[in-house]
């Protein structure tokens, strides 16, 4: 029985899990940055209308 | 205030709280029966799902009864602090100045008397259903008598942590079941050893050690958990 598929399988699952674990916070950061930009925009707009 | 008077007031507070909890439990007798009925139903499902072969049932009896006991305990755990948390009684207890650890311990003892003891008392019937050999029945009852208090003690930490959640019950089982693994292993091993007429006292010793350790540690952890949840 060839063991190669098991080795490839183990390493690719490992790579996918660890890659996802590394990328997830970056995606989160992107959405937070977007939220903050929007927040700043809203605040600036309200400041403009007030003055 | 000397220490004697202080310890006297502590034990009085402990007993008063214990009596109050038991009284409240007996006022709601039907609710009291739910975990017990649950236990009976779960155990009776096993012969239906696996088949009535007496040999097989005897083999799996310790595991089935113990797992059913774990499930029944977790089901009843949520009530441990729930009503007192929701109506603010728990906060009043904290303000009262009595150590929260003592309050937690009183409530844990009450919980065991209401939810754990019935399991121990019912176990002969369950053993009968599951065709457990009579020579290991005594050990089965002993493991439940020593083990179910540990379940209440460890469970109280989980309840303390999840009490501020509206639907903490589902999370609670995820939190406490992994912590119950050693108890399940040791208790069922004791019963199986007794069934095979092997020495089993060392397992009971381990369980007792677990009980002593959890009595000394768990109330503090539960109190800390409650403090976090109340903050």
């Amino acid at each position: 029985m060839s063991h190669t598929p098991f080795i490839i399988g183990a390493y690719s699952i490992g790579a996918v899990v660890l890659l996802w674990c590394a990328i997830a916070p970056l995606l989160r950061k992107k959405s937070i940055t977007r939220d903050i930009r929007r927040l700043v925009q809203i605040e600036e707009r309200s400041r403009d209308t007030n003055t | 205030m000397n220490t004697e008077a202080a310890s006297g007031s502590l034990s009085r507070a402990f007993l008063a709280l214990l009596r109050r909890d038991l009284l409240l439990a007996f006022r709601r007798r039907t609710e009291l029966l739910f975990p017990v009925i649950f236990l009976l139903v779960v155990v009776s499902l096993f012969p239906l799902g696996i088949g009535p072969g007496p040999q097989l049932l005897a083999r799996i009896a310790p595991g089935v009864i113990w797992i059913a006991a774990l499930l029944a305990t977790v089901i009843s755990l949520d009530a441990l602090f729930r009503s007192d948390f929701e109506d603010g009684t728990l906060e009043q207890f904290v303000i009262s100045g009595h150590p929260l650890t003592l309050i937690a311990l009183a409530k844990i003892v009450a919980h065991w008397l209401v939810a754990g003891l019935p399991i121990v008392l019912l176990s002969p019937l369950l053993a009968l259903w599951m065709n457990l050999p009579t020579e290991s029945l005594g050990v089965m009852i002993l493991t439940l008598a020593i083990g179910t208090p540990i379940l209440s003690l460890i469970g109280s930490i989980g309840v303390g942590l999840t009490i501020s959640l509206k639907r903490g019950g589902q999370l609670l089982s995820l939190l406490v079941f992994p912590l119950y693994v050693p108890i399940l292993i040791i208790a069922t091993a004791a019963v199986m050893a007794a069934s095979d007429s092997l020495p089993y006292s060392q397992f009971l010793g381990l369980l007792t050690a677990g009980l002593i350790t959890s009595v000394t540690l768990a109330p503090f952890a539960a109190a800390a958990a409650l403090k976090i949840s109340l903050s």
């Binding site: 080795i7 916070p25 989160r28 | 992994p178 912590l179």
Partner: protein, 262 residues
């Protein structure tokens, strides 16, 4: 709007206390750790490539287990990490609960998903190693069973942390749970190990009874160090994002993001 200047009332403090004090300040932590992350990733990648080259290409096949031995260069370091991260999380939790330092709370809680990821890798790699070695994907072997319970412990911490709305309360509750789990973990480990011998489970040891050849040991060690850098980089990244998330309305967050844009 000068957010970054901190007034230090006592000028004479020793360097370590000053460092800890500074690490407690979110903007300082954010900027300081930001410098390390790329280096950690770089070291991780270099070490991984080197370790995998030695392990997958250079090292000879094991004479008992054949090629499937190569899975262990992933499985074993991941298993070590799963335990190391849990104990790190427990120690951080203790510090967080005693001294109530927010950064430490965040570091403890962001450790949990990384530890869970390593536990999942350990389990899948272990079961894919088990198929050619034991003949089945899953055996209730002591190591695999302990890892499974460890995964449940991680999931409990993550679940509790994510269920409570108020972030600091959530962190403290989950920190306490992590500590309770850490007290139980050795008991769980030994009871499972003993349960396994009791029921006479699988008896093939990890190394298959063969003494480890140095050519097999080196890639294992390199991978073990590489995974630590992965943990460091990932942990700091997650902690920084968590800080941004919690401080979304604070001035330093905008300052930091403006700097990056400009």
């Amino acid at each position: 709007m000068n957010v970054k200047t901190e007034k230090i009332s006592k000028p004479r403090k020793n360097a370590l206390v000053m460092f800890i004090h500074k690490m407690g300040s979110p903007p300082w932590f954010y900027n300081f750790t930001g410098k390390f992350i790329p280096w950690f990733w770089a070291i991780f990648i270099v070490l991984t490539i080197w370790g995998l080259y030695l392990g997958l290409v250079k090292a000879p096949a094991d004479y008992l287990q054949g090629e499937s031995f190569r899975i262990l260069y992933l499985h074993v370091p991941a298993a070590w990490m799963s335990l190391l991260i849990y104990s790190t999380m427990a120690v951080l939790s203790f510090i967080a609960l005693v001294w109530r330092i927010r950064i430490v709370e965040i570091l403890a809680m962001t450790s949990a998903p990384i530890g869970a990821a390593f536990t999942i890798v350990t389990l899948t790699a272990g079961s894919l190693w088990g198929r050619p070695t034991w003949g089945t994907y899953w055996v209730w072997d002591a190591r695999l069973t302990s890892e499974l319970v460890l995964l449940f412990l991680y999931l409990g911490v993550i679940g509790l942390y994510n269920s409570i709305d108020e972030p600091r309360k959530a962190a403290r509750a989950a920190c306490l749970l992590a500590m309770v789990g850490a007290v139980n973990l050795p008991i769980i480990h030994y009871s499972v190990k003993w349960w396994n011998t009791l029921h006479q489970g699988s008896s093939i040891s990890l190394t298959g009874g063969s003494s480890i050849d140095p050519s097999m040991l080196w890639p294992l060690l390199i991978m073990a160090i590489a995974t630590k850098f992965y943990y460091g980089a990932n942990l700091l990244t997650r902690a920084r994002v968590k800080l941004l998330e919690q401080d979304i309305r604070k001035a330093w967050v905008r300052e930091v993001l403006k700097e990056k844009k400009g």
